[in-house]
Chain length 466, copies 2
């Protein structure tokens, strides 16, 4: 049972007043050097940083201690990155001086051998007995962008509204790169690795109460107390969307997960049904996961499910409609009033139907005007705009999307827009526009249809539980 | 029935000795100006280029004719981009001087109104009666990179081994951008638009005999003679892979397709079964289509289906295995001999199993050595390598993949490698390495598993029919 005391314990991890890193090094090829680099940025802040290493005397102008016992100050959070055989000794020292939280980054425990599993559990028990909580082992650490804290060996994410808890540190790092290109940042990120003490449900609950977090994302390989997770999810999803990507759905994946984080078997179908019932969004691929993140990080939940489509790519519009139907969704029919409004801004070659194919010669103004008409119409709840990098015109690659962005801004961002730029993922101009404009851009009709389905699912869920 | 005479007729389109463009303009906002620009690059070549326009006297130093009738020379190919109401008159002139092939780019025919459909058919009948073949209407044109011919209003693709026939010009343009980033180019591209005369099967057959084309790609919305297509496919797939993306699988998509290219209804499930039976690869999304293209454009077909996985991202490896099982594929087990070879190049923290998790600290040398061992092992037919942009090390983003590329090169590219760089699609360094190294890079575990399944499917098909 997660209680208030435990929530405070998590605060020691995400909002520590002092941090000690045991295992500091200057060797650029060692992971520890990345942790030193990330922590050093806080040396001039009010947060106290201490380094422990056997062979160093000084780091970035700070003294280096040969043991945590030498530091005569209160320590909230300890990061440990020493070979696994030395970890227990460091833990004993941490216990003796009553630190508040510990992150064991070192690998070589439960994910490697049975003996490692026993040691891992012994360490956690020791810590828990005196009220110390443990993250890991076998993890990259945590981040809190609100206080510029990067207690990890991965890159610092930009500030944003997405909270992430992941059992894979590398996937967390890769997602941060991906989201960054869409103008999306993290509030907090934590990688639990083997999750021997602190587990996913507690973090989700913590994120629910966190004002900086609007969207909660979970990468998970195993879940030990499914009921607890579902109970927390039920509460959390009433105010925040929770996206869950599960690794180890199938036996082959599960075998890999066992060696990755020592995961145990879970029936995916049962888990998925329970998560969905509790309002969680179950993703099976990184594509779905990242699409979900950009959708909820940037777009409002629609009021209805009347979808209007504008397209300058006939084929793109067709593919979007195909996928929409895969999600059991359909397009609405334009009324005569709406048709007449549209007819004033398009050329006669354009058929006044939904999807509205404004054909390949459409320019920024055409996109701006048609998008604005649909956004302003009471007949439409969600506007989907399908385009591609202008293949023939002198315009810049991002010009179509700028038209869409302006229409969205001028209508107060009240309704979700789902702009598709087919196959344009490596155009920096488009990614920059998305980044600066805080507007998601989807790179395939399928991703856009998936986003549409998520928004409608969320609307329906909120209607049901509110 | 497609016969030799018709094949020669297609050669007039792809390898014309003279081209006339009716509808030339200098207005940069008009599509015609892009056609002028693309054709102008051939003004100094042995290919004769003629421009027809009412209001111009000269273009790029060439005289502009007010009618095609004024040109007193033999014309192989005519491109028409004038408002639809003037098209039939131009066609009559083309017939009177017996041109060899015509591309009607103008829109406003069968895709717009019933009357348009009638006119479209009348025009085609007229032309066919005197042996002239027609592409379009409502299309972007065609390209043949072998002779630097870009008879279209979209960008020129780089030279390469992929032939594309598409009913959507914009999708073709978008695919060209996408493929370019992976070092993939086109041999020939043709957009058929409403496909009122020349249809997909003929083009596929033409590509089969084309020495420049190794991989055939099709975007199709409708098929009028399915049996003919299947017959041609059966023959073609024995020597070249054929990827088919079908728009209008579902009623909603089909309705959109009707207004896009005047498509008629097709039962997708029946079509898909027939295509698959004939060795074609049926894709439902652009993601699958583009993944298929990069796979067959760059990788050899494997000799068996023993898959070996190396990963520096535990989570990435887990997700790859999950998707592999979705395709009913499994990993092979490493023998003691192979384990002992691997143990010599990895750190003790690495468990000697498949997937081989060489953990987050792995560097270029680790990737190079482990990839080379698997590529050289008789136990492995396909090597999958999962990584992500190094999040902590001082190395360049592409360093892991350079290790893989070197191992692949040194083993003579005999076996397929499937390198995954999770979520790194907008890293230009990685795309450059793929481009220059002619090695595909996959950006998600799902895409990599799909590629694995395609290679194995192709191997099995070739075994069956050979």
């Amino acid at each position: 049972m997660v209680n208030t005391i435990e929530m405070n314990q998590l605060d020691h991890l995400f909002n520590p007043r002092s941090i000690c890193f045991v295992g500091a090094t200057t060797d650029p090829m060692k992971i520890g050097s990345a942790i030193v680099k990330n922590l050093s940025k806080l040396l001039d802040s009010s947060l106290k940083i201490y380094f422990v290493a056997k062979k160093l005397k000084e780091l970035h102008g700070s003294p280096v201690y040969s043991s945590i016992l030498e530091i005569k100050a209160e320590i909230d959070l300890v990061l440990i990155m020493v070979p696994s055989k030395y970890v227990e000794q460091v833990i004993d020292e941490c216990i003796s001086i009553r630190v508040k939280g510990i992150i064991i980054m070192s690998a070589g425990f439960g994910e490697l051998t049975k003996e490692g599993k026993i040691i891992e559990q012994r360490i956690v028990n020791k810590c828990n007995n005196v009220g110390i909580r443990v993250v890991g082992p076998n993890c990259v650490g945590l981040q809190n962008t609100q206080i510029d804290l990067n207690a990890s060996f991965i890159q610092h994410p930009p500030k944003g509204n997405v909270g992430m808890v992941s059992q894979s540190g590398s996937l967390a790092a890769a997602c941060i790169w991906k989201w960054r290109a869409q103008g999306i940042g993290c509030s907090k990120m934590i990688n639990l690795g083997n999750a021997s003490d602190i587990k996913i449900p507690e973090i989700v609950q913590y994120f629910q109460t966190d004002d900086e977090t609007d969207v909660i994302t979970v990468y998970m390989e195993s879940i030990k107390n499914g009921r607890e997770f579902v109970r927390i999810l039920q509460k959390t999803t009433k105010t925040k969307p929770v996206l869950v990507l599960k690794g180890g759905r199938n036996p082959t994946g599960l075998t890999a997960a066992q060696s990755h984080t020592g995961s145990i078997s879970t029936n995916y179908d049962i888990l998925k049904a329970a998560l969905t019932q509790a309002g969680g969004i179950s993703c099976i691929s990184l594509g779905e996961f990242n699409t979900g993140v950009k959708t909820f990080a940037h777009l409002p939940v629609p009021k209805g499910e009347k979808i209007g489509v504008i397209t300058a790519s006939g084929g793109g519009g067709v593919l979007y409609c195909d996928f929409l139907e895969d999600f059991n969704l359909k397009l609405s029919t334009f009324s005569e009033t709406l048709k007449s409004q549209i007819s004033e801004v398009v050329i006669p070659l354009v058929r006044l139907i939904n999807p509205l194919d404004i054909i390949a010669s459409a320019d920024e103004t055409n996109f701006y005007e048609t998008t604005k008409i649909l956004l302003q119409s009471s007949e439409i709840d969600i506007v989907v705009i399908c385009s591609l990098v202008p293949p023939h015109q002198p315009g810049e690659p991002q010009s179509h999307m700028r038209g869409v962005l302006n229409a969205w801004d001028e209508t107060g961002r009240q309704k979700p827009v789902i702009p598709i730029m087919i196959n344009a993922e490596n155009f920096s101009e488009i990614s920059n526009l998305s980044h600066e404009g805080k507007m998601p851009i989807y790179y395939s009709p399928k991703a856009a249809a998936y986003a549409t389905s998520l928004l409608i699912k969320r609307k329906n869920y909120l209607k049901k539980v509110m």
